[in-house]
């Protein structure tokens, strides 16, 4: 168990070195050992009794009433899961901050923010300075729902129920960080990025999914267990991670059951449908969405904000089909939770 505990050592060192670059190498060294263990120690870690939490490690930003925050139980559930399946010790109760210039922020190396938990992303000078300082001193921000496809931007709540893969961050977020770090910009995380395999590798078993959905998930939706994420580096280190909403898939109730129903949006076609779609009437809006390869999809909503079909750059039109059943919902929860565990493992291990 000595090896299995080493990520905690890494984390402890990271806490000590937080904001002190002169000793940050210590945490990196321990992290390297810790990660090695995590890659090989999954089965062992699962069998152990959860370690008592070492104390709060994660801060969560909520502007206003924290009881009204988005997916209130999601982060605690995920942190419990991190403690359960890895040898990291994460206190399931995050510490809340209401402003980015709250001095308490600097006690926590990781800040979780749901984009919709801040009504207005126009920060004042004090908050901007604090955010810049925090990131320059080694802090990490996980901005959930920081990627909102164009059709989701009219209302922050839309982005809470659509995990739509776009390859650019929400413009207000992009503008903010461009001001804080003019030399840096959000870049897509490559599919081979170590974050995607920090603890879990690949997809959960897809055999429970309907045939059509299974094929789409494996080949297009989440290839090799990855999904659209964008990162901003500060001093060469991944400092801000933006994702489409993930928290929708984390929350469990006190009996260990998932609290939300999640459906899949799948692109489908059949012979002749492309032509029919190109002529079909729609009463929603039409949006351009950036693809991973830099080209553009044109999404038609029928009605807004529900994507109905898409014109792809190769000229093909496909329809969005919405599949929902318990197997799909459970699968989505499992996947999002694995992604969440990977993110926190990557970050808390000192990466």
């Amino acid at each position: 168990m000595l090896l299995a505990q080493s990520p905690s050592v890494a984390h402890a060192l990271r806490l000590i070195s937080f904001g002190r670059p002169e000793i940050a190498w210590l945490s990196r060294l321990a992290a390297a050992i810790g990660l090695l263990t995590l890659f090989t120690g999954e089965a062992v870690a699962r069998q152990t009794t959860p370690m008592p939490p070492a104390g709060p490690q994660i801060a969560q930003y909520v502007d206003g009433d924290r009881f009204q925050r988005q997916y209130a139980g999601a982060l605690p559930s995920l942190l419990e899961e991190v403690t359960r399946v890895t040898s990291l010790r994460a206190d399931p109760s995050p510490e809340f901050i209401e402003r980015f210039d709250d001095p308490a922020l600097f006690r926590y190396p990781v800040l979780y923010v749901n984009f919709a938990d801040r009504g207005d992303w126009e920060l004042d000078a004090s908050e901007k300075q604090a955010l810049r300082d925090y990131l320059e001193r080694g802090g990490f921000i996980f901005l959930d729902a920081g990627i909102n496809a164009a059709f989701l931007r009219d209302d922050p709540r839309y982005g809470q129920t659509h995990n739509f893969p776009d390859w650019q961050v929400t413009p207000v977020v992009e503008e903010l960080f461009a001001e804080l770090f003019p030399a840096e910009s959000f870049e897509p995380l490559e599919r081979s990025h170590p974050l995607f395999s920090a603890f879990y590798r690949g997809l959960p078993d897809t055999s429970s999914l309907p045939e059509t959905v299974r094929e789409f998930v494996q080949n297009e939706k989440w290839p090799q267990g990855t999904l659209s994420m964008l990162g901003l580096k500060v001093d060469g280190r991944l400092a801000v991670l933006a994702t489409p909403i993930l928290a929708m898939g984390w929350e469990k109730n006190e009996y260990g059951q998932w609290t939300n129903q999640i459906a899949f949006r799948v692109r489908e076609s059949s012979e002749g449908l492309s032509e029919r779609l190109s002529q079909a009437a729609y009463d929603g809006e039409r949006f351009e969405i950036r693809r991973e390869d830099g080209r553009t999809d044109i999404v038609y909503c029928q009605p807004s904000p529900m994507p109905a079909w898409v014109q792809e750059p190769d000229g093909e039109w496909r329809v969005f089909r919405y599949y929902q059943n318990r197997e799909i919902s459970d699968y989505a929860h499992q996947f999002f939770t694995r992604v969440g565990v990977n993110i926190f493992t990557y970050v808390l291990s000192g990466y």
Binding site: F164, P165, P210, T212, R267, R276
Partner: protein
């Protein structure tokens, strides 16, 4: 090719009773007519595409075509029609709802599995249509006061599908069984508890107590404990935790000896809850102190502490309230400790807890103190105003609202010294709201504050003083300081400066 995505929590029909929308746009009508023609094509690919496209036009014609397509000889077409119709919920008429439910008997396993997860919702909407409760369209609410149980053949098809060869279908039906109101024999449930597929068995245990006695469920479950997983056993413990029949207690005693630590712990917690003087008390309390128990188990044990003999429970609750490795446990212990103590703990102990690093603990203490507002010592609340934790200082403000005027004034004056301008403004507002002595003077002094949120907030409070004295004072102040930021703010706010006072 690109990745697609998810949509989130399904909106329940009860939240959004949306009737079918009739297409009015001629373009949409043309699209639907063309798709309906395609639905008659010989080529199953064309029919499949039509069924997909019609799903985007939830009008009566499209719904009728899709409902008929549920009987198409091609499984691809049937699947496409089923997914399209399910996406139109809740706006479907009775006939389409029943046709969808009947797909539980389809020859294709994916059709059966897909609808099995929607049976509860489909039945609920169907009942609403029958009673006319939800529909805004009179044609959809045909038989007010009609029978609300599913037609016999449909109910029989569901009951038969409980014996489906697909475990996911069996499990999904079991999950929704209570809301389907169909007749199921207890023997069938007992067989499903014995189901080799654990997911099915776990679901059967959850609903089992509605069809069998809790003792009956415990007896069947005890037959093959050795072959079941820890997760299955945890489900069993959770499902039976409210029952005290002897078979249940015996089962817990057996599970308390499990080699799996989580199962043993969960069973021990249940036994402790029933008899806090039992043999496992020492180990459980050790685990509780060490933070090794899960949150739910910890709370169960903490809530039973008041039944420990003598002062042991109270002392333990007090210790845990002051120091615990888990914030949730500490907060629960704090609540339990307060319940056991008639008097408030001493101020120094409370201040010590207010220094705790967990915000949830500090906030729980504020909440408990608000419930004891009649016992609040002023020195405690005043000390809170100097805490390094913002939420404790906010707590002081909340508690000040419960204090008599003189005491509240002292606390609010302390808060007026706070570095945090929002807190300071809140204190100012409370002073003004209660019209505590000297509030006008404080507001006037705040007009000199360099921070816009403070001087603007103070100006607003004076501006809207209902008795007019504040307005007069503000007018005087602005006339004495015409070049001030406050004067400029008032001009912006009102679109003009104050008229000269006579």
């Amino acid at each position: 090719m690109l990745a697609a995505a998810l949509i989130g929590p399904a909106v329940t029909f009860a939240q959004r009773p949306v009737p079918i929308q009739l297409p009015e746009d001629p373009e949409a009508v043309r699209t639907v007519v063309r798709a309906l023609e395609d639905l008659e094509a010989d080529d199953e690919e064309v029919r499949t595409g039509a069924a997909m496209l019609l799903g985007k036009y939830p009008g009566p014609e499209a719904v009728k075509g899709l409902t008929e397509a549920l009987a198409d000889p091609s499984v691809r077409v049937r699947r496409a029609a089923q997914v399209s119709l399910l996406a139109m919920l809740p706006g479907l008429p009775e006939g389409s709802l029943l046709a969808l439910i009947r797909t539980i008997g389809d020859s294709d396993v994916e059709m059966r599995r897909n609808v099995s997860g929607h049976l509860g919702l489909l039945t609920q909407i169907w009942r609403s249509r029958r009673s006319g409760y939800l529909s805004r369209d009179p044609s959809l609410s045909a038989i007010p006061g009609g029978a609300l149980t599913l037609p016999g053949p449909v109910a029989e098809a569901i009951a038969e599908a409980l014996g489906s060869d697909d475990p996911a279908t069996r499990r999904n039906i079991l999950t929704q069984l209570p809301s389907l109101a169909i007749r199921v024999e207890p023997e069938q449930i007992a067989a499903l508890i014995r189901d080799p597929a654990e997911a099915v068995s776990r679901e059967a245990i959850r609903v089992g107590v509605r069809y069998l006695t809790s003792g009956g469920v415990a007896q069947i479950a005890a037959e093959n404990l050795a072959t079941r997983s820890p997760e299955w056993k945890l489900t069993l413990i959770d499902s039976l935790r409210r029952y005290n029949q002897p078979e249940v207690v015996r089962l817990f005693e057996s599970l308390a000896q499990s080699e799996d630590p989580q199962v043993a712990e969960a069973a021990q917690v249940q036994l402790f809850d029933r008899d806090p003087s039992g043999p496992m008390v020492g180990e459980l309390i050790r685990a509780l102190r060490a933070g090794e128990l899960g949150t739910g188990a910890s709370v169960t044990v903490i809530q039973a502490l008041n039944r420990l003999p003598g002062d042991e429970g109270r002392e333990l609750a007090r210790d845990l309230a002051r120091n615990s490795p888990r914030a949730s446990v500490q907060a629960a212990a704090l609540g339990e400790w307060f319940q056991m103590e008639a008097e408030l703990p001493d101020t120094s102990t409370l201040l010590e807890i207010f220094e705790d690093s967990h915000s949830t603990v500090r906030e729980e203490l504020v909440r408990l103190l608000r419930d004891r507002s009649g016992q609040l010592p002023l020195d405690l609340v005043r000390e809170m105003t100097f805490s390094r934790h913002r939420n404790v200082r906010e707590g002081a403000l909340a508690l000040a609202r419960e204090l008599p005027p003189a005491a509240a004034r002292q606390v609010l004056l302390d808060l007026m010294l706070d570095d945090d301008s929002r807190l300071r403004l809140d204190a100012l507002q409370e002073l003004a709201r209660r019209r505590l002595p000297g509030w006008h003077g404080l507001l006037l002094a705040s007009l000199r504050d360099p921070r816009p949120e403070i001087y603007q907030g103070a100006a607003n409070l004076l501006l809207f003083d209902r008795e007019g004295e504040g307005l007069r004072l503000l007018r005087e102040w602005v006339s004495e300081h015409p070049e001030s930021d406050v004067a400029a703010y008032i001009e912006r706010r009102l679109g003009r400066t104050f008229a000269p006072t006579n």
